[in-house]
Amino acid sequence: MVEARPTTLNASRTGTQVLEVGGSWTVFSIRDVSFKMGRKKPARGSAKLVDVTKVERLDTAGAIEILDLAGGGPDTEIKTNDKNHADLFKVVQSNLGKDPAKAIHVNWIAHWLDEVGHSLIHVYRQIADMCEFFGEIIVVFFEACLHPRRFRFNAVVRQMYEVWVKALAIVGVLCFLIGVVIAYQGVQQLRQFGAETFTVEAVGIGMFRELGVLLTAIIVAGRSGSAFTAQIGTMQVNQEVDAMRTIGLNPVEWLVMPRIIALVISMPLLAFWGDMAGLLGGAVACTVYLDFTFVQFFDRLRDTVGAWHFYTGMIKSPVFGFIIAAIGCFEGLQVSGSAESVGALTTRSVVESIFCVIVLDAVFSIVFLLAGV
């Protein structure tokens, strides 16, 4: 569509400042005019009369621009012969001056302080809410101990299928590969001073104490922790959680407990599976790079790697499982209103649970060091 370009002419008739405009004034034709004017607007009321008789096409955007050019306001007089244009100006003028733009410009220092304050309050609330949530979990757990039927065994089993059985393949493959990598690096480095047989200890202790359980925890946080947040969050958006409350079902008992119990049981099982896959990977790598047989590898492992290396990993894993499940469910219950917050909180749940897992792992290291195991 070819449109006549907008034209303007400043004139003065019998002492009053007049703006004459012509051509096409629509959202598609005023681009150049709008950029030329930029933010240099004339003061309101500098033209008392705007003559738009020569305007061919007009829409609301064009009317706004004409009024801006004229420095016009709600009471600027508009001269036109076209009834449609007159109506349009009437609508635009009666809705002008409600511009919220002025309220947006705030002092950036004040804005920054505001942001900092808000995020501090947010962190404080988050911690308080989380404490409340953990308290509720404990209460529900002991209530359920008195009435074991409230443990919802069916839901626990279904969740275990999701978080344990379905994760076996990925955990196994990744731990196997890490086992191979550690063994390969171990052989390369230790060979320099003829200690390459110690690769077995490197793989064994590394997998048992740290890597098996940590890797599993990170996979589970990405896989199941995020799923918990997304599932419970979606139920929040659909008001399903509210519906549960009105029926008298406690969401912590129905949604949170089964997931936590499932993950606390599944994590050691998965970590054990990961340990075994890692050892297998190490053994395979040793047969290739060290001319070990499988039997030699596992013999040496039995002789040199004490049982406590294995126990430390197994002690950590249920705690990690609890933390991942609790954070996943907590963030899910934090979802409010929009579908967008489900996505944001799912991200936060994964980041927070991985963070907590690694911090806790460091704490465990110190505890085990002090305990001498």
């Binding site: 959202v27 005023i30 919220p100």
Partner: protein, 266 residues
């Protein structure tokens, strides 16, 4: 069954009165799998009118609306919107000339209301930033929302406000045709009545042609010039007076039922 022979565009009587046809459907067939929703459907919408689209549940009101705005494919027939074939090459020119208000607003949740309104302006007309903000503020005022709505996120708005904000976005480019999907559903009667007035004033002041899917009998009486009823996979178009006379079991029950009578008395 409807025995009356329909005039061009599904009309019971000729309402054209020399007006341009803005939207023209001819022999339209929509189908999902083997399920035929519309067949041999004809419909004409004239310039500057408010057309209400009604029909029982499952007769495909929303499907028809989605088909017209190009979200569903048609199997047969032809749809012309503003003289442009909606399946033709130049259908891209239509996006800037039509506006759609979805049932639950469908505002972009990551943007503020003002930014939502600016999206189509930036895409199709790219104006100076300050002017675009001014246009957004005007549209917000135009649909009757308080000025501070512009800075809010859609999730901070109530359902009714979201509908209005969505209408403001649909109006961003001063479209020639506006499609509204159940605009008054879920509003309180006062809000719904204000909305009807708003729709009428948009037509009167901006000259927009409006097609709205609605179940609200009050809206049909208060705002709509003509009513298109989906019957037997086709539409029958008439004014309210003609519909009251029309002999079809569903139409009779709809307009003469207790709610229909109550709405008529007002």
């Amino acid at each position: 069954m409807a025995a009356t022979a329909l005039l061009e565009g599904g009309q019971l009587f000729d309402h054209r009165d020399g007006r341009d046809v803005v939207l023209k459907l001819r022999g339209v067939r929509t189908q999902f799998g083997d399920n035929v929703i519309h067949d041999k459907l004809d419909l004409d919408v004239f310039k500057g009118e408010i057309m209400g689209l009604v029909g029982g549940s499952g007769t495909g009101k929303s499907v028809l609306l989605r088909t017209i705005i190009g979200l569903n494919e048609i199997r047969k027939g032809k749809i012309e919107l503003l003289g442009v074939d909606t399946r033709g090459k130049s259908r891209r020119t239509l996006y800037a000339r039509t506006g759609v208000q979805f049932q639950d607003g469908a505002l972009f949740s990551s943007l503020s209301v003002a930014d939502n309104i600016i999206v189509p302006i930036r895409e199709h007309a790219k104006l100076e930033e300050g002017l675009m903000r001014e246009i957004a503020a005007l549209k917000i005022a135009l649909v009757g929302l308080p000025p501070d709505t512009g800075t809010k996120k859609p999730s901070e708005l109530s359902g009714g406000m979201r509908k209005r904000a969505s209408l403001a976005r649909a109006l961003a480019l001063d479209p020639d045709v506006l499609f509204l999907d159940e605009p008054t559903a879920g509003l309180d009667p006062i809000g719904a009545a204000h909305y009807d007035d708003l729709v009428k004033s948009l037509r009167d002041n901006l000259g927009v042609t409006i097609v709205m899917v609605t179940h609200d009998l009050d809206s049909l009486y208060a705002a709509c010039d003509r009513i298109a009823v989906l019957l037997d996979k086709r539409v029958v178009v008439g004014t309210m007076a003609e519909m009251l006379e029309y002999d079809h079991p569903w139409v009779r029950e709809y307009f003469h039922g207790p709610r229909g009578r109550a709405a008529r008395r007002e």
